[in-house]
């Protein structure tokens, strides 16, 4: 199939970007979206033009590096699919595709479709861990964890940290990202001792990084390539309220 692409091009963080038009001829339906972009880039390189910069790494939907808004939806809007796992069979011959980077104040654009997501690290640094020492921990089976609790924690822990929740959110809030970590650790006995400090520190970091506030649009859940539920934001809220109590 043949496609027309409108791709966000921006030389650096301080430049003004704009959409530019490219043709993607002879796209195979079995190709992944990024492989289609690879092909476009090959042509650009051979004709002496600057190839489109985009982040990608594992190309199997787990590293969270790829970060592209396709036709107005983070990762292209296929259910539980990162853009690296998006396949061209979901498009039709002659389609126009708009390809843009994550847009949020907290994610400055590095180049073209590449953004700086260190703000997500900053949120995690603020308290997304248990303060256990290497060594010096009890036997793994010393503390039992009910299966539902472990499953619940796992549901939250599936987050790949790609930032689609922020890109999708009308407020550019990273509350789902933060909620996942808070909820995962709060659900486990190992995370309880620090739960109060954690939720405060992480939500403070979220604000300091320049993310917006959550106003319960739930767009994050729709944008999340792992389909993570906003119930973890509710859990964060609950943990926050608990942290206010003595």
């Amino acid at each position: 199939m043949n496609l027309t692409l409108y791709v966000w091009r921006q030389k650096g963080p301080k430049d003004l970007g704009k959409l530019e038009q490219y043709e993607a001829p002879n796209v195979s339906p079995d190709q992944s979206f990024l492989e289609m972009l690879d092909d476009v880039n090959e042509v650009l390189i051979k004709t002496g033009k600057d190839p489109i910069a985009f982040d990608h790494d594992c190309r199997e939907g787990i590293c969270g590096m790829c970060s592209t808004v396709v036709n107005g939806r983070p990762h292209g809007g296929q259910d539980r699919t990162t853009v690296c796992q998006l396949h061209m069979r979901t498009f039709k011959d002659g389609d126009s595709i708009y390809i843009e980077p994550w847009k949020a104040k907290a994610f400055p654009i590095v180049k073209d479709l590449v953004v700086d997501r260190s703000a997500l690290d900053a949120i995690q640094n603020a308290g997304g861990y248990t303060s256990c020492h290497t060594g010096g921990v009890p036997d793994a089976n010393a503390v039992m964890i009910s299966q539902p609790a472990a499953e619940y924690a796992m549901d939250a822990a599936e987050c790949i940290g790609c930032g689609a929740c922020v890109a999708g959110c009308p407020n550019s809030s990273a509350m789902l990202f933060t909620g996942n970590k808070v909820a995962q650790l709060a659900a486990l006995p190992q995370g309880r001792p620090e739960a109060k400090a954690r939720v405060k520190a992480m939500t403070e970091a979220l604000k300091e990084c320049g993310f917006g506030n959550c106003t319960n649009h739930y767009e994050c859940q729709a944008a999340c390539p792992k389909g993570i539920d906003v119930k973890f934001i509710a859990k964060l809220n609950r943990e926050y309220i608990k942290s206010l109590l003595p």
């Binding site: 092909d39 190309r59 303060s131 793994a140 299966q147 472990a150």
Partner: protein, 638 residues
């Protein structure tokens, strides 16, 4: 030269404890004066940086990704082994040790493997304490699953995302240290050279991938945890950015490369669909717990839909050939068996390069719900890529390059032959021998990071004065100039072929000649083609843009340049090793039934190669392998 692994002597059960006691310690007050450079933030690097930071060292950690959380350890699916024996099925440290040695086809160092088996239990404790949500049974205890190459259930898992959860655990520990300011992170930074001063590793030269700036960093010790090199095959299950660069730069500065020919081809990957494919996707080997591998018995059936082939016309070749391990045969064996079937023209799918992995029996026995609970995400992934429903028709799988057992040579302390240069995880060669068992990579990465390097690095650091050599030393400028020189050279060629074109070409050479089955003929051919391609690369590659900006083409070009040199060494090692063992299969050396024929008499050693320049033969150093606790035997899974 004969290399010495400096393994502790005496009974192996006490070897690590004894060694730990004998090693020297760094005074707590002095720790912060030592600067340690950690390159790579995967399981080994992330865990190592966090643990060293916690001990009080001044750690600087580097990764090429935009965050430490994205290292490719994250993609490991199946699980992590430990000798906990929670299921009471007869596991023990000794059995894990034995399985790993045997799985590695008796080409690993006993003491290292023993230590790995011993600390495996601590890893699980550590991860649980970090909040890693491992699977649990109804009573709330940790659950286990079986994995290839073992007859006990010792694999801990977190759905199909165990690597992700373990890495995020290590990453969270790292975050804690970043907050405590003991670790400084340098994301989007790629190591492009090792700085060696008077024979001792003293720093690295890196490129800031965002700005293109070349930076020098000094350290009292340099630790490489930069993963494996199977992207030398172009199509592999590794992430796009995985490269041999850091390891190869160290090799060019004098570190020995051990057993590069030991590459693992993983049996359960999704077959290639076309020319423009950029990578292959792995599906956890745990699928073989409930899936049965088969191909049609008759060649003419291959085009038919799977459902149209009656039971009696199906060849469950793994169960036929290896009745006791069946579908759980180790990876190298399963991969080679799949290749044999396809070479016999009984493969299925596009190009007939594929075999079926059939879940029909398990679904009948356990119900689709149970299968979905175990492998739901894998079925989903399979459907996304192939547009086929694995519950309704058998999956098609084919082997793909996945892991490198070889790597930089290290002694028992994980230190290479270059003092001050430590190598952890997949980047070193130490524990997997010629083949790695499933769920052992995560175990090794975390063992090295959490429980080995924190002890062994101290033993080295006490011998150096902190900060004795800094980036003011002229070697740093020399290294930076070399790096800049190579970048300028790459940018100035302005040829006609793109980096991907040439990487694809290298991949073809490697896969066809140095892949699953190697022969003197194929290796000799590769050794002609690789240097020719390398020459073409330096004349005809086209890298656009400049060095002073975010430039992914330039990054890839640099990585490919190293693969083009390293690939040759890999082929040379494969040619030199006149035996078949584990992932290294020489068609000249096999039994009548096609099983690998090892030559313990002549090749029971680790081959460590010293790079002498592209136009010179590398020098071989041997480390003889002594087996005092296991009996060298023909590896049989029949």
């Amino acid at each position: 030269m004969i290399l010495d692994g400096k393994c502790p002597t005496g009974p192996i059960e006490q070897s690590w404890d004894k060694h730990r006691f004998e090693m020297k310690l760094v005074n707590p007050a002095n720790k912060r004066k030592y600067k340690i450079l950690m390159v790579g933030t995967g399981l080994a690097g992330g865990a190592g940086a966090a643990s060293l930071g916690e001990l009080g060292y001044n750690v600087h950690a580097f990764c090429y990704q935009d965050s430490a959380r994205r290292a490719h350890s994250i993609a490991a699916q199946g699980g992590i082994n430990a000798a906990k024996n929670y299921p009471n099925d007869g596991d023990s440290i000794y059995r894990l040790f034995y399985d790993t040695i045997k799985g590695g086809d008796f080409r690993a160092r006993e003491a290292d493997v023993w230590r790995l088996a011993q600390v495996s239990n601590n890893i699980i404790d550590q991860c649980v304490a970090q909040g890693v949500p491992f699977a649990r049974d109804y009573a709330g205890y940790l659950d286990n699953r079986s994995f290839g190459g073992a007859q006990v259930s010792r694999t801990f898992y977190a759905r199909g995302q165990t690597g992700q959860q373990l890495l995020l655990g290590a990453y969270s520990a790292l975050c804690r240290q970043v907050k405590a300011k003991t670790v400084t992170m340098h994301p989007r930074t790629e190591m492009l050279d090792l700085v060696v001063v008077d024979g001792v590793a003293k720093g690295i030269t890196v490129r800031n991938l965002t700005t293109g700036q070349i930076e020098s960093h000094w350290g009292d010790a340099v630790v490489l945890a930069t993963g494996g090199y199977v992207n030398v095959f172009y199509l592999s299950t590794n992430a796009m950015g995985c490269s041999v660069t850091a390891v190869w730069k160290a090799a060019k500065k004098g570190a020995y490369m051990a057993n590069p020919c030991y590459t693992q081809i993983h049996p359960t990957c999704i077959p290639q669909h076309g020319e423009h494919q950029s990578k292959l996707t792995l599906m956890s080997e745990s699928l073989r717990n409930d899936g049965r591998c088969w191909v049609p018995k008759k060649k003419e059936d291959c085009e038919k839909p799977a459902g149209a082939i009656p039971e009696e016309d199906r060849d469950y070749y793994l169960e036929r050939k290896y009745p006791s391990f069946g579908n759980l045969a180790p990876r190298d064996i399963a991969s080679r068996a799949a290749k044999e079937q396809c070479d016999d023209d009984r493969g299925v799918g596009p190009g007939k390069r594929g075999v079926y992995l059939d879940f029909a029996d398990s679904i009948n026995r356990l119900g689709q719900h149970t299968i979905a609970a175990r492998y739901g995400n894998l079925f989903e992934m399979y459907e996304k890529i192939t547009d086929e429903n694995g519950y309704k028709q058998p999956m098609r799988i084919y082997p793909a390059p996945h892991y490198s057992m070889g790597g930089l040579w290290v002694d028992y302390n994980c230190m290479s032959n270059v003092p001050g240069l430590f190598v952890l995880g997949e980047a070193n060669f130490s524990v997997h021998g010629a083949n790695r068992l499933g769920a052992s990579a995560l175990m090794q990465g975390l063992a090295d990071g959490y429980f080995v390097i924190p002890y062994t690095i101290a033993n080295y650091l006490v011998t150096v004065k902190p900060g004795a050599v800094t980036d003011a030393h002229p070697e740093f400028k020399k290294s930076a100039d070399e790096v800049k020189g190579q970048i300028n050279k790459l940018l100035s060629i302005n040829g006609k072929k793109t980096v991907s074109d040439m990487h694809r070409a290298l991949g073809k050479i490697m896969w066809n000649n140095v892949g699953m089955a190697r022969s003197k003929q194929s290796l000799t051919a590769a050794l002609k083609e690789i240097p020719a391609l390398r020459e073409e690369f330096w004349k005809n590659v086209k890298v656009s843009g400049s060095g002073e900006e975010f430039n992914q083409q330039l990054e890839n070009a640099g990585r490919l340049a190293d693969f083009l040199e390293f690939g040759e060494m890999l082929a040379k090692d494969a040619l030199h090793r006149e035996e078949s063992c584990g992932g290294h299969f020489r068609v000249e050396h096999q039994y009548d039934d096609g099983e690998a024929k090892r030559d313990d008499e002549n090749f029971c050693y680790a081959a460590a190669w010293e790079f002498k320049g592209n136009d010179k033969e590398p020098e071989l150093h041997k480390e003889p392998l002594k087996f005092e606790n296991v009996h060298l035997a023909v590896r049989s899974y029949k």
